[in-house]
Symmetry: C2
Subunit: 237 residues, 2 copies
Amino acid sequence: MNRHKISVSETRQRLLVSAGEVFAEQGFYNTTVRDICRRAGVNIAAVNYYFHSKEELYDAVCTHSLDLAVNKYSPTLGITEGTAAQERLHTFIRSLLFSILEKGQPFWHEKLVTREMNNPTMALDSMVETTIKPRNKLLSSIVKDFLGKGASEELIRQCCLSIIGQCLHYHYAQPVIQRLYPKQKFSAEGIETIADHVTRFSLYALQQFKPRGKQIMECRADHSMAAIRRGKNSSKH
Amino acid sequence: MNRHKISVSETRQRLLVSAGEVFAEQGFYNTTVRDICRRAGVNIAAVNYYFHSKEELYDAVCTHSLDLAVNKYSPTLGITEGTAAQERLHTFIRSLLFSILEKGQPFWHEKLVTREMNNPTMALDSMVETTIKPRNKLLSSIVKDFLGKGASEELIRQCCLSIIGQCLHYHYAQPVIQRLYPKQKFSAEGIETIADHVTRFSLYALQQFKPRGKQIMECRADHSMAAIRRGKNSSKH
DNA sequence: GACAAATTAAAACAATTGTTTTAAACATCT
DNA sequence: AGATGTTTAAAACAATTGTTTTAATTTGTC
């Protein structure tokens, strides 16, 4: 009977994978269960047999991809307390960009989240709690390091939105970016370049927002990014 | 007979208005012709009578709203050659933000374009030519003023994307911004505040990108934005 | 091998979509 | 007023969606 549920029927897993692929790519509303089943090589009825509906399948995909995300590819990764602020910023931006622009299962969740931000389903509320708020908190702490104690909550929030906005734009506007700049590459190499720019752009701005004082000199510092770049892929073609 | 086509049946106009409203709000795919007709107080068959299909109705809305946009509310408005670079930047950002965040007929077109950028239909290609490319060219020229002659095409492009990205984020991520910051207002007053921040943020970054030289002092200048603010609504509550 | 449960397959269902048909209502002109 | 062309209204159509039903097949256990 149901003594040992070994291999919860590979069909279920196949559905989960195919659904993750399509949902991350096209979003909830633009995806049909027939498409999912076709890719999974599975009968249509399977989605209602294993999950009870398209919605619950989507929920399953969300929690499953969240598991993958937090366990293996959290944007917090490598950002410790001790790290210098500008490097923490760079790491944050880099991870975010990779997770929304790179293809592949590990990055499904961020794509789902990014879609939800723009085109919500019933899953958004939980995503706000599990993913967006923590991510925002992390970025806020980084921004705070730049702006200092005196910075208002509003300014911090606005700067966070400016940074996130720059990143997500490459995801949201991908169709038109491809047309405007056909040479724009979204390979790993290309994403690194984008990350470098966004970091530099934001760094420059943040440094200027800092209250008047000693940083007048250091804000001019161009070696800030150089220091970040060094040791990664300093010689890129 | 068809000697003088007076008053092309108010129904057609009602359809055009309702369709513009709904398309701008929900995009092409999420809009049903039944919804459009209901709002217009018109029979379903009317859309196929006056326009031949949902697609052609959408096309009509696009060209009609483009007319309104270029004739009355072009983002070029007020940006002349002589104006100071930072004021041109502020004007550009302000107009863009207003046209995607404010409600109302005059701003339909930018909302349609913004939707197309993310979720293309057959209309995107023409929009790229008529709206996006010109707008990009304008912003590029402004950015160039900041970066100077020596700036590479790639840097200019990246900075433009950073600026546009910051603005459109407020449109794209509106559902989640509302949840994260319930106090965020998108009234005219609120939009002005956003425009001020995005301008300042971008200004600071651009100034730092400028090749080394005289601007070391002036980049620190906080009065740049103050000068812009002055004369608009210098005392806001 | 036989029986029971779990899984798969095919077909059908109900709801929604854009579109078309059909006829009624209206307007215009002689 | 009556004929003619234009516009509206109601209903039906075909295609697509998520879901369910029904029966066939496979799997596990004795």
